[in-house]
Subunit: 212 residues, 2 copies
């Protein structure tokens, strides 16, 4: 009232957000193609055509879920990385951030990792670019890490990056039934990956070399 107009706009945005969250749940449960707008309509208590007031198509709905999740993960990560120098710490932050979002927004993250192929045309291109940016950021951290530790290349950087994301994303199955807190899980994955990436002479036992 006092302000320009955002009171109505805020309601709109709020409901849109609620619809997105509900849609993410349904997509996560049944998969994009198997889920119907009618499912969303029922669970959200909105008429079928009412959905189309907020989204122009089912594709756009899927896109917005993935776009928002990915942007949030990325911007949060960049914020946390600001001012950090040690590559090891950067890697730890990346893993904590990623795993943390899985624990916090499981449905949306599951849609993000499972339904990329369901995107079409321009929507797919935009998400592809964001994923690439995320992936490149990770690869750069690994490059720094390898340089600073003077480790040989156990694996090419792109393979290592791909493996790391594979590890992190595999936890959705593990997490659902597990009561392991996210920070602990992230710490496990951090050690698991870091140890392998830095590498150590396979045959010689080399115990207790460095302390961080």
């Amino acid at each position: 009232m006092a302000e320009h107009a955002p009171s109505l706009s805020a309601n709109h945005e709020e409901k849109l957000e609620r619809l997105l969250a509900t849609a993410a749940e349904i997509f996560a449960e049944k998969g994009y193609h198997h889920a119907s707008i009618r499912d969303l309509s029922r669970r959200a208590g909105v008429s079928l055509s009412g959905i189309y007031y907020y989204f122009s198509s089912k594709q756009e709905l899927l896109f917005m879920i993935q776009d928002r999740s990915l942007r949030t993960v990325l911007s949060e990560l960049k914020r946390k990385l600001a001012g950090i120098d040690h590559p090891e710490e950067k890697l730890r932050i990346l893993i904590q951030n990623h795993v943390g979002f899985f624990a916090q927004k499981m449905a949306a993250m599951r849609v993000l990792t499972h339904e990329y192929d369901a995107l079409e045309g321009g929507y797919r291109d935009k998400i592809r670019d964001l994923r690439l940016e995320y992936s490149n950021l990770c690869t750069e951290i690994l490059r720094e890490l390898r340089r600073s530790t003077g480790a040989g290349d156990v694996a090419p950087l792109n393979v290592a990056t791909s493996a790391l994301f594979g590890m992190m994303n595999s936890i959705h199955a593990r997490y659902q039934s597990g009561t392991v807190p996210a920070e602990r899980l992230a710490e496990h994955l951090y050690r698991l990956f870091l140890g392998g990436f830095i590498g150590h002479s396979p045959r010689s036992a080399s115990v207790g070399r460095r302390a961080d």
Copy 2:
């Protein structure tokens, strides 16, 4: 002709196999729910109703693809593991076997890893059991490995198993465009995982409790 009857039966089995392979391609490309029997009918050059002479339903088609792939991977793995004593060698064989199948039967393996959720009822149960057997076999190897190297637990065994499968399955994206031969890729993943799993104990304080 000279033999009993298997000439007809062999033709049958042959065509069934061809249909399975073609269906795997389509499922891998478009996803199970998005792919239609009509797609398969067109690409295989068989009439729509002709498909139903070989398969009783779309679900059974999906099940047979996953069942055959998983059984082949598992039995090949067991065969290769026979007579091997060193846990490190066992792990290497497991990874080589898994990655090798991805390179060899990419479409079917992609369906196996991507379309588990698309299975329903009894079909899902059967595949779940096979996956569990595979996963348990892996966990046992990791348990031996940890015992024989005297390494502390960097991560609980179930987390490590899950991470390993996540790593291995993530390569389908990497492999499609890559020209890296499968054995090389497997070797990279082997080193990457082994180094982290054995760990080089930064401070050895053994964070986690024992995993059962």
